[in-house]
């Protein structure tokens, strides 16, 4: 307990330096579960608290992080026609992935947590855990080459306007991570949509463009790899091959249906995830394992997930029957593994704060997202994906759905008096 006493001795004064105290308190309660005991009411409490809950969502995302990091590098080399096998050039792909991902992760957390700490200090209460999950989600839904200053602005926008303005963790109406993404989507569309943004490490996606390596590539990792006698980053050799467009499978499907999509990417590839896309959304097995983990630990609502699958499948079937264009004719079960559907289902729609609260409401909420998401994905004239907008849209109706479920309950109770 000597260490504990030493750490307790470091505690800054709350009045003199509120921000320091808030930061101290946040890190202290992170390291040590508090010694508070129950007073009135229950004398024992469940071992579960918000920190533990949130951290389990982060744990569920780890496979997406691992695969996403590697896939950043994989896509980078695919574009130049080198190391075409998935495991070829393993160290280079991993190194490139880390060079891209780590700054995104750090900037997200520095900006987001910084704002959280400031607000907590100002309000005089503890830092709440909400950003643990938002901060882990945001890097996964960004393109690998997102400019860091845009990322910083979007995170600040989301945390301040979508969260703190509503009163902090537990009070927000819209999913924080999606608000930060939608901000970039509307303010800087070129950096998050189209064919240019999904392959990292090139200034633009056109034949003959050379890779753009910085000090970490050529200075740090190259010296490391040459010491170990491994292939190194070579900008001169890494140029985009002819005919490479950088388009995601979804963009291809939008242009030419399943035929065009499968001419470039096989369905297996789309399932396993070696395709261009946002960092964390590509690998379906990683997401499915995360979703199973969330359901088994009862951290996320299975009702929302299944509702969303049902909604998407039904809408997909209707579109199949309609068959108005090539995109609509993609079989409904293929829609379930295309694009970011699964990621949105497992990690975005299940955010308990912005979803419906009641169990029956969760079914409606999930199905409704599936329906709206498919409509946006397939019938939207400009953009081939829909889950971000669909979830934000249905977030706005979550309380309304609850309202009707609750009213039904009240009505049942007050009738037959």
């Amino acid at each position: 307990m000597k260490l504990l006493d030493f750490i307790k001795g470091l505690e800054p004064d709350k009045k003199k330096s509120p921000i320091l105290h808030t930061a101290y308190d946040a890190f202290f309660t992170f390291a040590y579960a508090p010694n508070t005991v129950t007073k009135n009411g229950v004398h024992m409490r469940d071992g579960m608290d918000l920190k533990r809950l949130m951290v389990h969502v982060v744990i569920a995302m780890q496979l997406c992080y691992i695969f996403g990091t590697y896939n950043i590098g994989h896509q980078h080399f695919i574009a130049s026609g080198q190391f075409l096998g998935f495991l070829d050039g393993f160290h280079l792909k991993l190194a490139h992935g880390l060079i891209k991902l780590l700054p995104i992760y750090v900037v997200t957390h520095v900006v987001g947590l910084g704002i959280e700490f400031l607000f907590a200090a100002k309000k005089g209460h503890a830092v709440e855990e909400g950003f643990l999950v938002s901060g882990a989600l945001i890097p996964l839904i960004m393109p690998p080459d997102i400019p860091l200053w845009i990322l910083a602005i979007s995170v600040a926008f989301a945390v301040i306007l979508a969260k703190e303005a509503f009163g902090g963790t537990g009070m927000n109406i819209w999913n924080i991570a999606l608000v930060s993404r939608v901000f970039i989507f509307f303010a800087y569309p070129g950096d998050i949509s189209g064919d240019q943004c999904w392959i990292s490490g090139y200034d633009s996606i056109a034949a003959g463009v050379q890779a753009n390596y910085g000090w970490w590539h050529t200075g740090f990792f190259n010296s490391l790899f040459s010491m170990m006698d491994l292939p190194t980053f070579n900008a001169a050799k890494t140029t985009i091959v002819d005919g490479f467009s950088g388009a995601t499978p979804l963009a291809l499907a939008y242009e030419g249906g399943k035929e065009l999509m499968t001419s470039k990417f096989s369905m297996d590839q789309i399932f396993w995830g070696s395709i261009p896309g946002s960092i964390g959304e590509t690998s379906k097995p990683a997401i499915i394992l995360g979703a199973i983990f969330l359901i088994v630990t009862k951290v996320a609502s299975w009702r929302i997930m299944i509702g969303m699958v049902i909604g998407t499948a039904l809408t997909g079937m209707i579109f199949n029957a309609w068959g108005f264009n090539a995109y609509m004719e993609i079989p409904w079960h293929n829609h379930l593994i295309m694009g970011s559907f699964l990621f949105a289902m497992a990690f975005m729609a299940t955010d308990p704060v912005t979803a419906s609260n009641t169990n029956s409401g969760k079914w409606i909420y999930g199905i409704f997202i599936g329906l709206v998401g498919m409509i946006v994905r397939v019938m939207n004239p400009a953009y081939p994906e829909g889950w971000m907008l669909a979830i934000l849209f249905v977030n706005s109706f979550a309380s309304l759905i609850d309202h009707y479920v609750i009213e039904a309950n009240i009505k049942r109770r007050l009738s037959h008096v």
Binding site: D46, L50, V55, N320, N359
Partner: protein, 538 residues
């Protein structure tokens, strides 16, 4: 109903239109899907018509179509609510409750009853909700009383007497804040002598006056609000739960043993006081349930985890309390006391208490009297340990923290002692060292369903805003939405509180919700504030 047919027809037409407009099918599979969907819709239409015909027939026969849920489909209300039919009409006698959670604690009492004579007993006005803080005390220090003699009464309700649990000498009349009477302490005689009462049970008036005079009336509890009912009130029904599913709670068969005839007499008396019925909630997992032989009461069997034994949960699943309705609830030992009063003419406040928990050296049942001194009951019973012990009057979920200097509360039948948890734990929220009970599968607890936890009072986290949803509903087998109810109470919206079922709940019913709450919200306290607000309005 017509709407449904219209909708179905509309859908069929749209689909036909779609398939015509499409012209050619691109794959066989799609054709099959469309044929399947159309077939499904046709089937649905067929069922819809059948359903309608059944309802028409039923209403011709004079059945209540809305209530009875006649037809093929469950009504929308049934689908939306988990057990919607429970609100309203009475349900049949067997109830399987799927929701709930048993907190397995070590220190279970061995099933034997030890005799225990405490030296001092006390009755405290604090134990009776709604009594004025300074009741009229009719005894003075030094007076000699018999069991059943009046100690004090509420000046606003001068007919209902609060009487002595044992015979002896009044040694203290203690006052608390603002000169309120804290308790009246009696130094007990070796053998309890009883005051004799008139045992005329021929009329309701005679029963009521005997009960009021002897102190037996104070054993009654009125839901909602948990107050002593007024003497001229008639409850809709009377509910008695014959088992307690709370952690380490006493086994009611031990409480009943040898006193069956008094329990039966009590039921007979209570049945005269209500216009409705006396309902017994029985434990369906007990094959030789002695309460099954009790006559003159409607028996309902409950199977499930805690809180299946809570009378509030049972009322909800039998016949719920609507706004404006009043029911009475009693425990097993209260019924026995009332029965004995009318069988033998004495007010016997004797009581079997279970003393249990991980910090109790010899967990057992103790026969004593209401209001016994805790230090006498726990003499040599608290195990020494590194941590302090928390002594609880009641169970760990909704009991009251007490000290050795206190007295048992009026209706208590349990003392629990567990360890205090006032310790920091390194990464305790992520990698806990000590096992702890939890409903969450993030702990490996579900692998060891029979593990008995020691239990400690650490909050395991700090208070937060509501984040998680649906966790309360998992442990509350009632058709209520606790989180929305709590929000309505916090907002002070009385109409919504009533609509969401505040009348059906008290602390022990939502104690488990408070236990599982990830945000560590004090639900019981909030609920009581809401109930008090509602009582002030009424």
């Amino acid at each position: 109903m017509n709407k449904r047919i219209l909708l179905t027809t509309g859908l069929i037409l749209t689909l036909f239109e779609i398939s015509f407009a499409q012209g050619s099918f691109t794959s066989d599979m799609m054709t099959y899907v469309i044929i399947g969907v159309v077939a499904l819709i046709a089937l649905a239409a067929l069922f819809g018509v059948t359903d309608n015909l059944m309802k028409v027939e039923a209403s011709k026969l004079g059945l209540d179509v809305e209530k009875k849920d006649i037809g093929i489909f469950p009504s929308i209300g049934n689908i939306l609510g988990s057990n919607a039919t429970h609100i309203g009409g009475e349900k049949a006698g067997y109830h399987k409750l799927n929701k709930g959670f048993d907190i397995q604690l070590s220190g279970e009492a061995s099933p034997k009853v030890e005799e225990m004579k405490a030296s001092r007993y006390a009755i405290s006005p604090y134990d009776f909700r709604g009594i004025s803080p300074i009741p009229k005390v009719t005894v003075e220090v030094g007076d000699i009383v018999k069991a059943g003699d009046i100690l004090f009464f509420d000046k606003k309700v001068p007919t209902i007497m609060y009487t002595a649990p044992v015979s002896g000498e009044i040694i203290e009349i203690n006052r608390g804040d603002k000169r309120a009477i804290k308790d009246v302490v009696i130094l007990a005689d070796k053998e309890v002598s009883h005051k004799m009462f008139n045992i005329d049970d021929s009329s309701v008036e005679a029963i009521k006056s005997t009960m009021a005079e002897s102190g037996a009336w104070t054993l009654l509890n009125q839901r909602p609000f948990d107050i002593i009912p007024s003497i001229d009130s008639t409850p809709r029904d009377i509910f008695i739960s014959t088992f307690d599913s709370a952690p380490l709670a006493p086994d009611a068969t031990i409480l009943l043993k040898g006193r069956e005839s008094h329990f039966q007499k009590g039921i007979d008396i209570l049945a005269k006081l209500t216009e409705g019925a006396v309902y017994l909630g029985l434990d369906a997992s007990d094959k030789n349930n002695p309460f099954a032989n009790i006559q003159n009461a409607n028996k309902h069997w409950f199977k499930g985890k805690h809180p299946a034994g809570n009378v509030g949960v049972q009322i909800h699943n039998i016949k719920s309390i609507k706004p404006g309705q009043r029911v009475w609830t009693l425990g097993v030992q209260e019924v026995i006391a009332i029965g004995k009063l009318f069988a033998e003419g004495i007010m016997d406040f004797s009581r079997i208490i279970v003393v249990a928990g991980s910090r109790i050296a010899n967990p057992t049942y103790v026969r004593t009297h209401v209001g016994a001194s805790v230090s006498d009951i726990l003499k040599g019973q608290i195990k020494e340990g590194e941590k302090e012990a928390r002594i609880i009057d009641g169970d760990v979920l909704s009991g009251k923290q007490i000290t050795q200097n206190d007295f048992l509360s009026f209706k208590s039948d349990q003392i629990t002692a567990i360890s205090e948890g006032n310790e920091y734990e390194l990464f305790g929220w992520l990698l806990p060292i000590n096992p702890r009970p939890s409903t969450s599968n993030t702990f490996p607890n579900f692998l060891y369903p029979d593990y008995k936890f020691e239990g400690e009072t650490n909050t395991h986290g700090e208070k937060r805003a509501f984040v998680v949803t649906g966790q309360y509903e998992e442990v509350l087998p009632m058709d209520v939405y606790p989180q929305h109810l709590m929000r309505a109470i916090m907002a002070g919206d009385i109409e919504k509180m009533e609509g969401l079922g505040i009348n059906e709940l008290n602390e022990e019913d939502i104690a488990l919700c408070e236990f599982v709450c990830v945000s560590k919200t004090p639900l019981q306290q909030v609920l009581r504030e809401g109930l008090e607000k509602l009582r002030a309005e009424a």
